[in-house]
């Protein structure tokens, strides 16, 4: 009898622990990712700097109105702005709430055809089709991104916002716009 009671208690305790673990997954999941970065939306100043950077990056070639990807697109504000400026823009974001909101916002603003939003890990996204990439990263992320960004073809553009790329052979720094947290670094793929 005592043995059975013990087994029941152990079973209940195990099931409870499992349920608690399952409930905690949405909150603990970021800890399991290779890089855990906070969500910080772009300010008006940053968006203005992105616009300036795009016009500089695409002035000397035919990339204008080309394909652009925002890596970690958040609430979609950068993607929508780039679409307004003539780019065929894609946003990649892990957070499903933000993806849902971005899609809703793009339709509401009449940009549903010019934009696309995907719930995807940026490290599992094929960057080869894109002529321009935008990344609002954290310092810890930029080093990890360099090998990933090498998927992009020669002569493509990269806009690194908030933090620059570490020195590397694949990307040549062409411009820096703004300073501090609003800074944008414009790179060209070698």
């Amino acid at each position: 009898m005592g043995m059975n009671t013990g087994l029941v208690i152990a079973g209940v305790a195990g099931a409870t622990a499992l349920a608690i673990s399952a409930a905690a997954i949405p909150f603990v999941a970021p800890a399991l990712r290779r890089v855990c970065i906070p969500y910080v939306p772009a300010t008006t100043e940053q968006l203005a700097n992105v616009s300036r950077a795009l016009s500089l990056a695409t002035s000397s070639n035919s990339n204008k109105k080309g394909t652009l990807i925002d890596l970690g697109s958040g609430d979609g504000r950068v993607v929508l702005q780039c679409a307004r400026e003539g780019f065929n823009s894609t946003g990649v974001e892990l957070n499903s709430i933000l993806v849902a909101y971005s899609k809703y916002r793009s339709i509401r603003e009449g940009l549903g055809k010019e934009t696309r939003f995907m719930r995807k890990n940026i490290f599992k996204t094929d960057l080869n089709p894109y002529q321009t990439a935008v990344i609002f990263g954290a310092e810890s992320l930029m080093g990890d991104l360099v090998p990933k960004l090498s998927e992009m073809r020669s002569n493509t553009n990269l806009l690194a916002c908030r933090f620059p790329l570490p020195e590397n052979d694949a990307w040549k720094l062409e411009h820096q716009i703004g300073e501090g947290i609003d800074a944008v670094w414009v790179y060209k793929r070698n």
Binding site: A24, P26, F27, V28, P30, A31, C36, I37, P38, Y39, V40, P41, T43, D75, N95, S96, I97, L98, A100, Y101, Y104, R108, A138, E139, S140, R162, I181
Partner: protein, 125 residues
């Protein structure tokens, strides 16, 4: 910062933080906008939120009495009138000035001009 944003923000990226969720929210100033209600989109958003955190956010803007204490079982069974309350909370309330506070370390992240600055303590990571 729209209130739905609070729902997924955590301070898990800080050193020695295990869960860091939900962040405590202090609202000093907010505005109420009038974003068009869309039933389907509201349900899509509500399907993805953590209800306990929504209650925290609603309380921060003194509107916790407008939503049920327990999460409704099926969002699509709610009337438009009931869903509009959630839509208003999630989409129409914009926090302009305030603070997000890590529940474990009590680290304060300011919200200024509607932007939550989670990079303030980047050096602590």
């Amino acid at each position: 910062m729209k209130l739905f944003v609070h729902n997924f923000m955590s301070s898990r990226f800080l050193k020695n933080v295990t869960v860091g969720y939900p962040l405590n929210l202090v609202v000093k100033q907010f505005v109420e906008k009038d974003i068009e209600f869309d039933r389907d989109n509201t349900i899509v958003m509500l399907d993805r939120i953590q209800y306990e955190a929504l209650i925290v956010a609603a309380a921060a803007v003194n509107q916790s009495d407008r939503i049920p204490r327990e999460k409704p079982e099926k969002w699509d069974e709610l009337t438009d009138e009931q869903l509009r309350v959630f839509h208003h909370l999630l989409m129409n309330i914009d926090v302009i000035d305030g603070e997000l506070i890590c529940p474990e370390t009590k680290t304060v992240f300011p919200i200024r001009d509607g932007i939550p600055n989670m990079l303030k303590v980047d050096a602590e990571k």
